[in-house]
């Protein structure tokens, strides 16, 4: 089963670093901006129920989309939001602006991805850079209030450090579990008529100058 996860947040909050920590167990201090969108995949055993024991768990492939936080690096639009099963919103605890922008990211996601049930679409919020606790400028309480305000149920909130690998695994597992329990998987395409010859007459209207 393939679950599509999209990570959003301001430039420099550590989206790529979180993903690299989760998928490759690696962290690099040098900052490299992301251009466009790219995904990494990771297979994981995951249960739809938070309290499930290993026996209920299924093998899922997480396709995690890392995105550019800077708008100018998204010139082709954000078509890749579509079909997402869960969205992870990331901010940097040392940058209040990145926290304030969570609203924008959330709304932008819901507008562009247009999931069938916007009310209950699962989000996970990650407060990154916990290793820089001394420079913290966004209080945990403030983020929790935001989470409570923006969700009818409990919006899971994790304080992580991609650098120290704190809570990264837990946050992604929670995202996967929400995606699974949500059951928003798109129904498979069913053709109107099943033709075993299967070559629709549609090739005529197009150029063939390749």
């Amino acid at each position: 089963m393939l679950l599509k996860v999209v990570i959003l947040g301001d430039s420099g909050v550590g989206k790529t670093a979180l993903l690299n920590q989760f998928v490759n167990n690696r962290f690099s201090t040098s900052y490299k901006a992301t251009i466009g969108a790219d995904f990494l995949t990771k297979e994981a055993f995951c249960g739809a129920n938070a309290r499930s024991v290993a026996i209920d768990e299924t093998l899922v492939t997480l396709q995690i989309w890392d995105t550019a936080g800077q708008e100018r690096f998204q010139s082709l639009g954000v078509g890749f939001y579509r079909g997402a099963d869960v969205c992870i919103l990331v901010y940097d605890i040392t940058q209040p602006k990145s926290f304030e922008n969570l609203d924008t990211w959330r709304i932008e996601f819901l507008t562009q991805a247009s999931p069938s049930d916007t009310q209950n679409f699962p989000f996970v919020v990650i407060a990154n850079k916990l290793d820089r606790e001394n420079d913290r400028r966004v209080a945990t309480q403030r983020a929790q209030t935001w989470c409570a305000k923006n969700s009818t149920s409990i919006l899971p909130f994790f304080e992580t450090s991609a650098k120290a690998a704190t809570e990264v695994e837990a946050a992604f597992r929670k995202a996967a579990q929400l995606a699974l329990s949500q059951g928003t998987m798109q129904a498979d395409f069913i053709p109107e008529t099943i033709s075993f010859r299967g070559s629709p007459a549609n090739g005529d209207s197009k150029s063939s100058c390749c």
Partner: protein
């Protein structure tokens, strides 16, 4: 081409329909392909997949919509990829699949299939990565239609990202090494860029604008290759410098395209780490001088400098400016200014200098000369006052040095160009620079240790220190001036003479602020003066001189905030008393008393002030007996004349204590001083001239009769209050407390009989009180007092 509009542009209104139709066909063929995969039918899977891929040959879609369709296709191709891997795992040679994939007649579908099969070929380790990758990147040349080619190459980069012989990957060795991975990506990048640049010149000239718009949307397909390069583990600083950057820059220069050049350089700046940039700055800057005229080199330089400055700001960063980098940027910037003099607006120029300045401040904290140079260049470029964009840029420029954590106060004050530059700004922006500067200086907590430093700092802070303040509301002004006042606490130095000079200079600067500002700033100066008076030991300025300063400051304050001035006078009186400067102390107290009589606005302020006055008098242990008597009598008079009866009652009772002052601990009772030589503290005291003169005057006298008079008068007043609607019984309990205190202090006239009388009176009154909060409060207080009476065994309680 039939459905394309006559001008060659995809029809905008038809886009949703085209996309929906194509998507449906992709889904349909994808469905059959998946079905075929499930049935392990390779020919069927390939056939349906190539039918699906034919949809990508469309010319009807705009880049964004084509991207959507392309993503849908990629989703479907992942199933094919899994199927191929499964086949190989089950024994089908990967070479066979690779061969079969090429059977498709149409070139675009064939290449997508070939790439998918090729990636599996490499990933299953059945062919050396380097050969297959080389094959694929060459074969992709078969598609020369720009948009289709760009997406095909994007797919190539995407599908092969896990099949590169990067350092540490399993494809290294027979598959090649990182140099092959680099070569593959560079080739793909080169071809991608060529297709992208070529779009510019295809089609009629009338469509140029639309084409440029489309190109700008497609640019990330080109940039993605650079991201791939930056992700290679095997590309370290030296490989980047020798094998990666030079071919990239060559492409940038040689493509001679005004859209590609700034974009690619922006990508390079962003995707590679700071260390790489610092190691290759010269080549990068050389490239910047070889760009098309239309390219905005300034913003490229700025982006690079800002990136490096940001990197240096990170806490655990070790990236500081390498020798020569600043000069290289500076030279490049100067040459740019020289060459494009006419084209550059003042705002551009300031912006360029601001980026250079920020870079200097953050990356070269020790090199003030760089910062000075930037500021001097800016000063030279600005002849008049600035507004609008120019002002915004100048504000940004000035904020870099004044708010940087890298700047010490001393460094900041060597930058003589700052103050004159701030004067070029409109007042609000000038104020903002001043505020940020003030905050930084206070946070930095570096000492203001010379009058010159104060003068220089105040020149930057000027808009906060004086001028029109009518536009500010009280709250904002209080907040701002409280910060300004904190400067007093930065006046520190080894030498108390220096501190005094600094404080005096600051006093003169802040004194110009007008009454609303000085109400907040003068108290801080005066209290800082009192701290100084305690330790002043300079050859030039003794404690007396400092007290004069405090007196003068408090007198100035009296005109604008009498209640605050009164407290300063009292605090000064105590300080002087502690130093046995009786006359000075008396003068301060007198000033406070004069303010009390003449200036206080209302009875509330009077009560508050009078409490402080009584407290000060009681604490002034060294006060001359005659002076003390006069002052105590005066304070009691004030108390008796208070406007409200309950206030009179309370304050007169409080004044009773003035006639039973605590007795000074006599010098003879003090322990002998420690030997001076062994004790540093003692040595300091020894050094301090002049030693406090031994109190030769008579101590303050006690007068049991006056005490009793006060208490009885207080009682009488309380009694008079009993006629009011809500009789204040609590007053009696308070008076009872005073009686008890005096009894305990040993006043012979205060006998238990008074206590017994009061207790009886209060008990009676309390019982007549209405139930409620007031009664509860009194009862609680009274119960405590009774508990004390009982504990001390003053009288028998029933």
């Amino acid at each position: 081409m039939a459905l394309r509009q006559s001008n060659g542009a995809p029809s905008v209104e038809q886009q949703p329909r085209y996309l929906a139709e194509a998507s449906r066909r992709v889904q349909e063929q994808g469905f059959y392909a998946k079905k075929a995969c499930g049935a392990r039918d390779l020919p069927g899977a390939l056939r349906h997949s190539s039918d699906m891929l034919r949809e990508l040959r469309t010319s009807l879609l705009t880049p964004r919509n084509y991207y959507e369709l392309y993503m849908k296709v990629c989703d479907e191709l992942r199933h094919l990829d899994q199927f191929f891997q499964q086949l190989v795992a089950d024994g089908t040679p990967a070479a066979d699949i690779y061969e079969r994939a090429q059977a498709c007649g149409d070139v675009l579908p064939r290449l997508y299939l070939l790439i998918t099969a090729g990636a599996v070929y490499v990933k299953t380790m059945q062919a050396p990565a380097r050969d297959i990758l080389h094959d694929l990147v060459e074969m992709a040349k078969g598609v020369q239609h720009p948009m289709r080619g760009l997406f095909l190459r994007h797919y190539l980069a995407q599908a092969c990202k896990d099949a590169l012989p990067d350092t540490g990957s399993k494809f290294e060795g027979d598959g090649g090494d990182v140099s092959h991975a680099v070569d593959f990506i560079l080739r793909n990048f080169g071809e991608t860029n060529r297709l992208w640049v070529r779009m510019q010149n295809q089609g009629p000239a009338s469509q140029k604008k639309r084409r440029e718009e489309e190109r700008k949307q497609l640019k990330i397909l080109v940039g993605t290759n650079l991201v791939r390069l930056s992700q290679l583990e095997g590309v370290d600083e030296s490989r980047y410098a020798s094998d990666v950057l030079p071919p990239l820059l060559e492409q940038v220069v040689n493509c001679r395209d005004a859209i590609a050049q700034p974009y690619l350089l922006d990508c390079i700046i962003n995707v590679f780490p700071d260390e790489f940039h610092l190691a290759t700055l010269d080549s990068f800057l050389t490239c910047c001088t070889q760009l098309r005229d239309k390219v905005c080199v300034r913003s490229i330089l700025e982006a690079m400098m800002r990136r490096l400055a940001n990197g240096a700001r990170q806490e655990d960063s070790e990236v500081l400016g390498p020798p020569g980098a600043f000069d290289a940027f500076d030279a490049c910037a100067s040459r740019l200014v020289e060459e494009k003099k006419e084209a550059l607006k003042v705002a551009d120029l300031i912006q360029l200098r601001a980026a250079l300045l920020e870079f200097a401040v953050e990356c070269y904290p020790g090199e003030l000369e760089y910062v000075q140079r930037c500021l001097a260049q800016t000063s030279a470029a600005i002849m008049n006052d600035v507004v609008g964009d120019d002002a915004m840029e100048l504000e940004t420029l000035l904020l870099a040095p004044v708010s940087s954590q890298q700047m010490t106060l001393a460094s900041l004050l060597t930058l003589d160009d700052i103050a004159p530059l701030t004067r070029r700004l409109p007042i609000e922006q000038r104020k903002n620079v001043a505020r940020r500067c003030l905050r930084r200086v206070l946070d930095g907590d570096d000492a203001l240790d010379s009058p010159e430093a104060v003068v220089k700092l105040c020149a930057i802070l000027e808009p906060l220190l004086c001028g029109d303040d009518s536009s500010m509301n009280d709250e904002a002004l209080e907040k701002e001036q409280t910060s300004v006042a904190s400067l007093a606490h930065l006046c520190r130095s080894e030498s108390t003479d220096d501190v005094f000079r600094v404080l005096g200079t600051l006093r003169r600067a802040l004194g110009k602020g007008g009454s609303r500002r000085t109400a907040y700033t003068l108290p801080a100066l005066a209290y800082r003066g009192l701290e100084l008076a305690r330790v002043a030991n300079g050859p030039e300025f003794s404690a007396r001189k400092v007290f004069q300063f405090v007196h003068e400051t408090a007198t100035a304050l009296a005109g604008v905030a009498p209640a605050r001035a009164l407290r300063v006078f009292l605090a000064a009186a105590l300080e002087a008393d502690a130093q046995c400067l009786g006359a000075i102390s008396y003068e301060f107290v007198s000033q406070a008393f004069i303010l009390y009589e003449d200036e206080l606005p209302d009875s509330k302020a009077q009560v508050k002030a009078l409490r402080s006055m009584v407290g000060t008098l009681l604490a002034a242990e060294n006060c001359d007996a005659a002076d003390y008597d006069a002052l105590a009598a005066k304070a009691t008079q004030y108390a008796a004349k208070l406007f409200r009866k309950p206030d009179q009652c309370r304050m007169v009772a409080a004044c009773s204590h003035l006639f039973w002052p605590p007795q000074r601990v006599e010098a003879v009772e003090a322990p002998p001083p420690a030997p001076a030589a062994e004790d540093d503290d003692a040595a300091t005291v020894e050094d301090a001239p002049p030693p406090p003169p031994a109190p030769k005057k008579e101590g303050r006298k006690r007068d049991p009769k006056r005490v009793l008079e006060c208490l009885q008068r207080s009682l009488k007043t309380a009694d008079a209050c009993m006629t009011s609607a809500q009789p204040p019984i609590s007053l009696f309990v308070e008076i009872l407390d005073h009686y008890l205190a005096h009894l305990e202090a040993g006043n012979p006239l205060i006998t238990p009989k008074y206590i017994a009388g009061l207790v009886a009176l209060i008990t009676e009154h309390v019982e007549t009180m209405e139930a409620g909060e007031a009664r509860e409060a009194v009862e609680r207080h009274y119960a405590n007092t009774r508990a004390l009476i009982k504990a001390r065994g003053v009288i028998e309680l029933d």
